[in-house]
């Protein structure tokens, strides 16, 4: 058997180089974001330069960046609410529904998550424009995004609800609780960490979404951050690279922190869904 120090050596030898490779782009973004604009292209100033926060100021005061962040948050919150209202009961019912029907339905709902936006954006663009009259409005995104957040949330929630013992609910039923009452008073409170995980990952799916946002939204003020930065901060040949790097880092860092905090719960739900 390999001794513990050899174990550790292997772990460091593998993880450190890959951590450097995977993390370096963010280091370089941070460095670039602090450079004054006239030194960005100077190859002799790779590491030595006068750091400045000017690009952050430019981003906040002279572009629509804050507006895009606000739009992303608004859409994200609205979609999270819709997703929870629809997915919480469905996820619970599918987790408790014994037998073939429940399992098949669970897998079927999950499979719709695999139908990609790149297949649906063309028909949806017409539906949004002609039937819903929502083109170039954030409402278009709020209506369409649950189509992928709901299957995703149901899948995760199923995994969480399955870990809650049936006996807890049975006890509540014996004590005179209705089934819905047991759901609201017993099951949901215990599942709060799982529900929070769904909130966070749903929100981040919304912030990430690109295809629908670039198809449905046409005016700069209504863009989300994922589309606003690539379309409006890069105009023609004029690139303000430090500003763009700052624009990337600002939403990425908080997202990374909450991802890390909820990762174990996410994995538990993800791998414990319909396949268990």
């Amino acid at each position: 058997m390999p001794s513990p120090w050899r174990h550790k050596l292997f772990a460091y030898a593998v993880t450190i180089p890959f951590a450097v490779l995977l993390g370096f782009p963010f280091v370089w973004m941070a460095v670039t974001s602090l450079k004054p604009e006239y030194q960005v292209y100077d190859p002799t100033k790779v590491w030595s330069f006068h750091p400045t926060l000017a690009s952050y100021g430019f981003l906040f005061h002279h572009t629509g960046y804050l507006r895009w962040l606000r739009n992303s948050c608004l859409v994200g919150l609205a979609v999270v609410v819709i997703t929870l209202v629809v997915a919480l009961p469905a996820g619970y019912a599918l987790a408790r529904l014994a037998g073939r029907v429940g399992r098949t339905l669970g897998v079927a709902i999950f499979l719709t998550y695999l139908v990609p936006p790149t297949l649906l954006f063309l028909p949806l663009s017409r539906v949004v424009a002609q039937y819903l009259h929502l083109s170039d409005r954030l409402w278009a995104l709020i209506v369409v995004y649950p189509s992928f957040t709901i299957p995703f949330a149901i899948w995760l929630l199923m995994g969480f609800f399955k870990t809650i013992p049936q006996e807890l609910e049975d006890a509540a039923l014996i004590d005179g609780c209705s089934r819905l009452g047991a759901l609201v008073r017993i099951v949901f409170p215990i599942s709060l960490p799982g529900i929070l995980t769904v909130v966070i990952f749903t929100f981040s799916l919304v912030v990430n979404e690109f295809v629908y946002a670039i198809t449905f939204i046409s005016s700069s003020t209504n863009r989300t951050v994922a589309v606003g930065v690539p379309t409006d901060l890069i105009r023609g040949d004029l690139f303000n690279w430090p500003g763009i790097m700052a624009a990337i880092l600002i939403p990425s860092i908080p997202l990374a922190l909450v991802y890390n905090a909820f990762l174990n719960r996410f994995i538990a739900g993800f791998t414990g869904g319909a396949f268990r």
């Binding site: 408790r96 339905l105 954006f121 690539p230 990425s252």
Partner: protein, 307 residues
């Protein structure tokens, strides 16, 4: 009257207590929502692909298989099909190897593991539409940091700088790199869950029987972690083949359509050129591939239940 409503309410509540009724009430909103926003557009996409619909009108004239025929005769489309395959196969092969290694290293406990996991997770947590723009800067023809490193290691010279996104082969390699970079964290954490799910007793028993190193991995660890790992791999394949963010932002299919994949080509045909019917037909070529993956997942799910 009051008595009647009371009876009705109690009957209503009684019905809610029955499991079948309650389940239907709880599940149907989700089914309706998904049906309206995934099912209907999917049918509409199939319908549109048989018409000559253009931007501004949802209905076009029925043209039968003409869109599919013209797509198949188009060299750009055929290349896009091939590029989609390359883009997916190579990036995901890299992901499987790297994520497998990382998962086996991260399962051990060592100092600083939390920090390393945090850093490895970054590419997945950050919005890819944004980080892809970051790579646009890292691949900049004049100020690429990668070129700077290579020049300092004397691998390339300033006279002969690599044009990361400007020449066909380099561009393809560049977008594959970014796609692998963004998928590795997700595959790693799911693989890690698979490795961690192996009980210590199994590990010890295998060691007692004299299984070590690669043999133990091949005969004991790999089969046990396969169910979970396969889900991650199928996910990676589906989301790479059907996503367009990385190629769209980095190259938009160029130079000379050398990185054109199905999704970017459908977008350019359907939205930029306004030929919705033709764009829908191009996007629909993803469907057989998706169906194959779905069947794979279902077969696999059934097998996982048996064991």
């Amino acid at each position: 009257m009051r008595v009647e409503t009371g009876v009705r309410r109690s009957r209503y509540r009684y019905a809610l207590e029955r499991q079948g009724v309650l389940a239907t009430v709880l599940i149907s909103p989700a089914v309706l929502f998904i049906g309206a926003l995934v099912g209907v557009p999917l049918v509409l996409a199939v319908y549109l692909s048989f018409t000559d619909a253009t931007a501004g009108s949802l209905s076009g004239n029925w043209v039968g298989l003409a869109n599919f025929r013209s797509a198949l005769h188009d060299q750009v489309f055929r290349d896009a099909l091939w590029h989609t395959f390359l883009f997916t196969a190579i990036s995901q092969a890299v992901v499987i190897v790297v994520a497998g290694l990382l998962a086996h290293a991260l399962v051990r406990s060592f100092r600083g593991r939390w920090l390393i996991r945090f850093v490895i997770l970054l590419p997945w947590a950050a919005p890819i539409a944004l980080t892809a723009i970051g790579f646009l800067w890292f691949y900049d023809p004049q100020a690429s940091i990668f070129t700077w490193f290579l020049e300092h290691l004397h691998i390339t010279s300033p006279q002969n700088r690599p044009n990361w996104l400007g020449t066909p082969h380099a561009a393809m390699s560049s977008i594959i790199t970014v796609q692998a970079w963004r998928t590795i964290p997700f595959a790693t954490v799911i693989f890690l869950a698979g490795v961690s799910s192996i009980p210590q007793e199994v590990d010890d028993a295998a060691a007692m029987d004299g299984a070590t190193g690669l043999r133990k991995f091949w005969h004991v660890s790999l089969p046990l972690q396969l169910p979970i790992a396969l889900v991650a791999v199928l996910f990676g394949i589906v989301f790479t083949a059907t996503d367009m963010v990385v190629p769209y932002i980095l190259t938009n299919g160029g130079p000379f359509n050398s990185t054109q994949v199905l999704t970017t080509w459908a977008f350019q045909t359907g939205i930029n050129a306004g030929n919705i019917g033709e764009g829908a037909a191009i996007a629909l070529f993803m469907l057989p591939f998706l169906a194959a993956v779905v069947v794979g997942m279902l077969v696999f799910a059934r097998r996982a239940e048996v064991t």
